[in-house]
């Protein structure tokens, strides 16, 4: 029987890994995973924002009226992202340059809004923080893994260190857009083949009614219409 805080970590890292199981946050995953180190940078910045946003939203969960839930989340997350962006621009400019436009895009990262809606506004602050940490780390690991595969195949390096023997040509396509799609497809194929259950079908089929893991749960009108019936 796991301590409930540790359970949150386990959940985010493995059981409900946001990228590999819940299939959330595909945009940054595909875009940023050209190098393993980008995965770490993006993953950790998202984790920071996720922890803080989960904390703030959880603290305010009883004060935010239902009608303005989404706009409030957005303002909170956007502010946190802007703060993160400014701090990164000031103190880690190379990482900031590499991640470029994808930092402000953390605002619409489905994981953050999704967790805010699915967890933070229904649970206590400490649990929400742990959830944020778990999800964020899970995202970071998945992103770094994808980045590593793409970097090795497409560039012959891993974390910047030459891995492929000098004579072997790396397949450049893997650090290009098509390669991103192919690598993620490969991950899912492997998970399907060994029987790990994921939300991969829902990823390509739109709304399946399961709001807990849905990226757009906060904006979903069909849900509110259902509730109204």
């Amino acid at each position: 029987m796991m301590n409930k805080y540790v359970e949150r970590l386990y959940n985010g890292l493995i059981k409900e890994n946001p990228t590999l199981v819940l299939m959330l946050g595909m945009c940054p995953t595909l875009a940023v995973s050209t190098r393993a180190v980008n995965g770490i940078g993006m993953g950790l910045s998202t984790t920071a924002v996720l922890i803080l946003s989960n904390l703030v939203i959880s603290l305010l969960r009883k004060s935010i009226p239902d009608e303005v839930r989404l706009p409030s989340y957005i303002v909170i997350v956007a502010s946190l992202v802007t703060v993160t962006e400014l701090l990164m621009e000031a103190y880690v400019p190379t990482v900031y340059e590499a991640l470029g436009i994808y930092i402000p895009l953390i605002v619409v990262n489905c994981i953050i809004l999704g967790r805010a809606e699915a967890y933070a506004n229904k649970n206590t602050p400490l649990l929400s923080v742990m959830d944020g940490l778990g999800m964020g780390l899970g995202f970071t690991i998945a992103l770094t893994l994808a980045g590593l595969v793409r970097e090795v195949l497409g560039n012959g390096t891993a974390f910047g260190l030459q891995v492929l023997p000098k004579g072997v040509e790396p397949m450049g396509i893997f650090v290009q857009p098509p390669g991103a799609f192919l690598v993620i497809a490969l991950f899912i194929i492997i998970m399907n083949a060994i029987g790990i259950k994921t939300r991969q079908k829902q990823l390509v089929e739109g709304c399946d009614g399961c709001c807990a893991a849905c990226a757009s749960a906060a904006t979903c009108t069909s849900k509110t219409e259902e509730a109204a019936k």
């Binding site: 040509e169 397949m171 450049g172 396509i173 893997f174 290009q176 098509p178 192919l182």
Partner: protein, 512 residues
């Protein structure tokens, strides 16, 4: 004889030509080009061909084994065709790992993953080639001649240099292994004669390409130029052997024509405006992307059926395209687009003219307020121009100040252009003319949009001439200047503007 009726799924009347037969015919048609290619380029080309075909067949066999398929599709010849096509589109000096990996990608990812023969939506050989182009960019684009690295004829064409069309036609110039147009035509026309490929496709591809090059290539419909373009860059190979692939081209005749034209035009677009000589492969696979869409909306007519019959048969009336996309949304989008385009068009058209007009007005105003001046020179004060000037003049900016010279070279005076944003109805722009001895000559308006009958009276001599020949360094309403009745705001803005100009004159120009 059995009393049971034998039931099987259609089609019941089968053509005597099986997949294997068609594939063999295609391989046969490609043989001349392969032979010429090897003859001209050497043994390595043969190895490329063999590796490519072997890799393709091997990959398909392995895949069949892996998914425990019941059919042994690797024997039907389609993999061999893919391998051959890929090999013929490679440079003779390509390292052997390229055809190996390329064929693997073509068969495994493009074809088998989607369910095998007939289920792919992109031409496998070309997708494999583009995969290689993106992955091994350097290795793929080396086209040596006599083992020396030279630019291909198409590269030369793009650069405007002369090319030997005959050599390209025969296949003796440097290029991919299957670049002998003559040999390709022998095979291609053979396939067309046997109705194995559809003429609509190959000829509309060639036609669309020629049309675009002729219209936009910069050399009109010059036959030599067109021939050179057609003979290079895989156009003929693509038109006859790649675009015509049954699986990835539309089913209906009209659809095929549209598809062919699309590929041809895209090919021309990339050739004329793009930066690489390998672009025709991309044109074809982009065309492939549109095939499902073309097939959805352009349905072939079943034998003896009219469109109404089809609809009735289906038990539903197929809604016309215009109803399938919600009309109001489309209208909304179109309106937005048109409005945006109109706005931007007008803006661009008038932008320069407006700027010119403004400048002309300013200069005319300068002449009016410093009449003795023949020519003007700008006064250097860049850090002041365009900024709000001082603190006592409201939102007033000094735009520009010029020094006027009379015909004999002496200083005739100064003209200062000012704008106040505090007019009643917008900006008020005027020029103040100051003579060489510091007397205000007059003022002239360059911009005045005030209320007619009130603020607009400022332009009348009655008000304006109050500033003529005044030696004051600053004006006050009620003292030196009479306010315009019912237009206090306008008056104030004008007076502030004039005062700002004067302040500029005394403090900046004169340095007092």
């Amino acid at each position: 004889m059995s009393t049971f009726l034998n039931i099987s799924a259609g089609p019941h009347i089968r053509d005597r030509w099986s997949t294997r037969f068609i594939m063999c015919m295609v391989l046969l048609a490609l043989t001349p080009a392969a032979v010429v290619g090897v003859a001209v380029n050497g043994w390595h080309s043969l190895f490329i061909i063999l590796v490519s075909i072997a890799s393709a067949i091997g990959t398909e066999a392995a895949f069949d084994l892996l998914i425990k398929s019941k059919k042994d599709t690797f024997l039907d010849g389609s993999a061999a065709v893919t391998g051959m096509l890929l090999a013929l589109s490679l440079s003779p000096e390509t390292p052997l790992y390229a055809p190996l990996i390329g064929s693997m990608f073509a068969i495994c990812v493009v074809k088998c993953c989607f369910g095998g023969l007939g289920k792919n939506f992109i031409n496998p050989a070309l997708a494999g080639r583009c995969f290689l182009l993106i992955s091994f960019g350097n290795a793929m684009t080396v086209f040596p001649m006599d083992h020396m690295s030279t630019a291909t004829p198409v590269a030369n064409l793009l650069a405007g240099k002369a090319v030997n069309v005959t050599s390209m036609f025969l296949g003796t110039s440097n290029g991919v292994i299957g670049s002998s147009i003559a040999a390709l035509l022998v095979g291609g026309l053979l396939l067309w004669a046997f109705d194995i490929i559809h003429g609509q496709i190959c000829f509309s591809v060639l036609g669309g390409f020629t049309l675009f090059i002729g219209l936009f290539g910069g050399q009109g419909f010059d036959p030599a130029y067109l021939a050179a373009n057609l003979c290079g860059g895989g156009v003929v190979m693509g038109a006859f052997f790649m675009a015509t692939d049954y699986v990835t081209s539309p089913v209906s005749r009209l659809g095929q024509f549209i598809y062919g034209m699309l590929i041809g035009v895209l090919g021309g677009l990339f050739r004329v405006f793009g930066s690489s000589a390998d672009s025709f492969s991309y044109s074809i696979i982009i065309g492939n992307l549109f095939t499902p869409l073309i097939d959805t909306y352009i349905l072939p007519k079943p034998f003896a059926y009219s469109k109404k019959d089809i609809a009735l048969q289906k038990g539903e009336v197929q809604k016309p395209l215009s109803e399938r996309i919600p009309k109001p949304v489309v209208v909304l989008v179109i309106i937005t687009l048109l409005a945006g385009l109109a706005l931007s068009g007008v803006f661009e058209l008038t932008k320069d003219t407006i700027a010119q007009q403004k400048e002309k007005k300013a200069w005319e105003a300068y002449r009016t307020v410093v009449p003795e001046a023949d020519k003007f020179d700008s006064v250097e004060a860049d850090d002041i121009y365009g900024q709000i000037y001082g603190t006592k003049f409201g939102r007033t900016k000094i735009n520009e100040a010029v020094k006027g010279y009379a015909a004999d070279g002496s200083v005739a005076g100064y003209a200062i252009s000012v704008t106040s944003s505090e007019g009643y109805d917008g900006d008020i722009g005027l020029s103040v003319g100051i003579s060489a001895d510091g007397v205000v000559n007059s003022i002239s308006f360059t911009e005045l949009h005030e209320t007619p009958g009130k603020g607009m009276l400022a332009a009348d001599a009655l008000f304006k001439d109050q500033f003529n020949n005044r030696s004051e360094s600053s004006f006050n309403i009620g003292k030196e200047i009479e306010v315009i009745s019912g237009a206090t705001i306008t008056t104030k803005a004008i007076v502030n503007a004039v005062n700002a100009a004067l302040d500029f004159y005394y403090n900046v120009i004169k340095g007092v």
